[in-house]
Symmetry: C2
Subunit: 564 residues, 2 copies
Amino acid sequence: MIYKHASTDLVADKKRRQEATIPKDWLISQSVPVDNVSPVTTIAETCGLLTDKEVLITNSEISLLLKKLASAEWSSVEVTIAFYKRAIIAHQLVNCLTEIFVDRAVARARELDEHLRSTGRVVGPLHGLPVSLKDQICVKGVETTMGYVSWIGRYAQKNASLVDILYECGANPFVQTNVPQTLMWAETYNNVFGRTVNPHNRSLTSGGSSGGEGALMAMRGSPLGVGSDIGGSIRVPAAFCGSYGLRPSYGRIPYAGAVNSLEGQDSVPSVFGPICNSLDGVKIFMKAVIDSKPWLKDPLAVRKAWDEEAYQLAEHGYGKSLVFGIVWNNGAKVPHPPVTRALEMTKAALVAAGHKVVDWDPVGHVEICEALVGIWNAGFLKDFEVLSKESGEPLVDTMVPDPTGVEVKPDYRPTAESAASAYELWQLHKAKLKIRQEHLAMWEETAKTTGTGRPVDAIISPVAPYAAPPHGKSSDAAYTAVFNVLDYPSCVFPVTRVDPVKDAKKPPHKFISTADKENYDFYDPQVFLNAPVGLQLSSRTLEEEAVIAMTEIVDAALKAYKGT
Amino acid sequence: MIYKHASTDLVADKKRRQEATIPKDWLISQSVPVDNVSPVTTIAETCGLLTDKEVLITNSEISLLLKKLASAEWSSVEVTIAFYKRAIIAHQLVNCLTEIFVDRAVARARELDEHLRSTGRVVGPLHGLPVSLKDQICVKGVETTMGYVSWIGRYAQKNASLVDILYECGANPFVQTNVPQTLMWAETYNNVFGRTVNPHNRSLTSGGSSGGEGALMAMRGSPLGVGSDIGGSIRVPAAFCGSYGLRPSYGRIPYAGAVNSLEGQDSVPSVFGPICNSLDGVKIFMKAVIDSKPWLKDPLAVRKAWDEEAYQLAEHGYGKSLVFGIVWNNGAKVPHPPVTRALEMTKAALVAAGHKVVDWDPVGHVEICEALVGIWNAGFLKDFEVLSKESGEPLVDTMVPDPTGVEVKPDYRPTAESAASAYELWQLHKAKLKIRQEHLAMWEETAKTTGTGRPVDAIISPVAPYAAPPHGKSSDAAYTAVFNVLDYPSCVFPVTRVDPVKDAKKPPHKFISTADKENYDFYDPQVFLNAPVGLQLSSRTLEEEAVIAMTEIVDAALKAYKGT
């Protein structure tokens, strides 16, 4: 990134400091692909930096890792170093990290090993597990810039509540990961750390705003990451990078003590949730955090214990003959062929597994997104004006790479003309509440037609109308944001990859809108080569347990289907 | 009320229509006290309109009523008529009702009786129980004016979700009760229905905003009422009228489909909760509503089942040797002598019952109230401007009765100069969240000093710095509003009454502020004669079950203490 600005020195210094935290013998010496299309996901395994055991460790599922750690068969130190090395390799290829603190994490791992050795007991359910954190989840003593030039040099004075809980659970926070400026993009680029790219095809975006986490997962540089989601920021990178990711309901996972943009915007709160390469990690993370009673640390955390009955799907016929509603398109943009194929595969897999699949009418999706954009914009520019005042850094107004290399217009300083009054914001809340009430009533009504006596059990929908697109093209969060407004927990699962043969461009359909046509126009299977395609499963507010369990059912059905 | 305004005809017509709904043979013929000080609470029993059985019914606790109703020993029709008559008597004495629909309620009672007779089963846990509703909880087909002239003639198109649930539970909504204009007062007066007064002493306020409910309870004109609370609106009238009242946490009881002022103001949401004359009703109401899964009807209702373990005080040592923190004053106003005496009585009762009582430092109470007022004012005047546009009714700017009888300045139309931007509102949210986090941390810290290993179990505090004051003097909601911001469920229980001998005026203390001095100055035990004094018990967010159980313990301790 060439970025001309008075704060350039600050940024250059921060980058230098970041580089200095990388152990020299973890630098890749092997030549890596110079093109931007070939996947870099396996370079960690071939570049010679990882031992066979480190490859084995970093390719393991979380439940296996925890078992090996708890039995001391694998030490926390060796697991931490294995993932750290792989994370550093990832960073060199896709620019996914912000904060690196190897000594501290290894010291923590050593303490955990010593505890286990001396007491025979694990510290908690995540004993020894390295955990990566989006660069807003404060770790005491570590810089939290969250991609703002103004925040360079801001060292966290205390842990976020979630970090306290992770430590209590025996986890080992070991890196922080990149974000877009303001966090309000479905890509990952900022004036401090630059751009994170997609490991499956570096000409494509990793998604955002938890794009550092997504890219790190695709590189298997962390077993478990924590992202945040206000409009899709966990789910978009999870889907674009081929991982699993859960957007929990408001307040199920504590947010206290973390930093954020649009702070005080409570209308549609951002939430934290897990991103990982195996679905077991989603449940393990959620149960561990909820079992730790986060409501004793965060006043906004909901006092609601982990509900094992709900996880057994007591309210969903115990998982027998579930009924899924599929959103084929949201009434705004028809998804690209690979996304539609993923929906078709999922439908076929579920039918083959004995479940029922019906079409879901995306009533209200467009209105929901309009209300949401109004809420975000109510104070967005003023918020940025205040946050950027110290450094004078310009607002990023596009994620499209500039061919000249100057990525950001140095003088772009918009005025807060979209600002709203509190009263106007209240009117948006009324509109939002009305939609939520209608959506709930509509969902309840489906009990009359499912044949099970229950309403539809879950909704399966695209995460975006495209797989991971080229940089600058991930501009539409409507498919995900709708569930932030409805506050439905939603879990992303990987389904397939873009295949030029199976996913050939289709003849033009009858376009819903100009945006729909533009979305159609930019599809070319060669451009999206190798891009993962994920979908999301959503159910009712505070039904995290059921959403995880139903995603497990869908995931198993897909695996069985693909195996045949 | 003499009220000069273009909409006077509308109001006169509404009052005429209200009068027409009162059965003529339920009008009091007996002469009633002409003074405004003598209690009118027992006139219902002496005026000759109620039979002995009706007196027995209306003096019964809710659990007994439900038992008699379920066994068909008392029919729903006779219970409904008994309470209806007593409610109408009450209305003639204290002006507490807005909507009266005798035929409809009796027809419903007849249906319930018929159901029980033909099936042998009750419709639900509240079978046959008359329930009064604050005039914002819409009942299909009934006018909901909520004290606004503009809303005269607005008939509810559907039931509020809570009303649907009450019907499903077998309850019988039978009257609606008076409110102050805008609902944002701790007294009850509006341009449509006028003023509700305190049955224990009509020169005193019934409190507000659920002041119609409070007055009706003091008259025993309803076994169970539902009020709303955004800053104390359930607790203030419950305390001023000598009843019990619970302010639940946000979203525990469904609000969907009700009307409100400041709609869309989500920063500190109003909540619904029960008011009644026996504590059993609080639990019965809460359990019945929560067991009906309100989250399937209201997207903001928290998916959290009634927790019997929590009610057994599993997290509070099963109720043995509890530790209570007492707020003696909130750092803004020293309570009047009867309130302090109520705190002393409660402390003595709890100590006698084997519990521990410590002083609670009201850290942050003043800042909390400042943030809250900022939030309310952010759009308050604009909200009123829009709501009152149709009728042009003036804003009520004082609750002090005007000696000329013209209660409201006809031309008072303030401009929205206190309006805030959305961004400014977000900053208030940040301040509020910081306070909530600090308060939670402070509470957790008390575990180090209680001696039980647990933090303080509950806080006991005044509901106001005075007992029910004269009209126009209930201007301070700080003691209650603090728990709306902290979102701590709080239950009011009656303790004593103002006693001129025990509660003599004290010599001036060192005043905290001008407001504190003013509060001191207006105390005179003769003025407050017979005013009930209630206190509130508060604990953590979503701990309704524990708050109810602990209030039962305090209530029993007080009864034992007073009995000795």
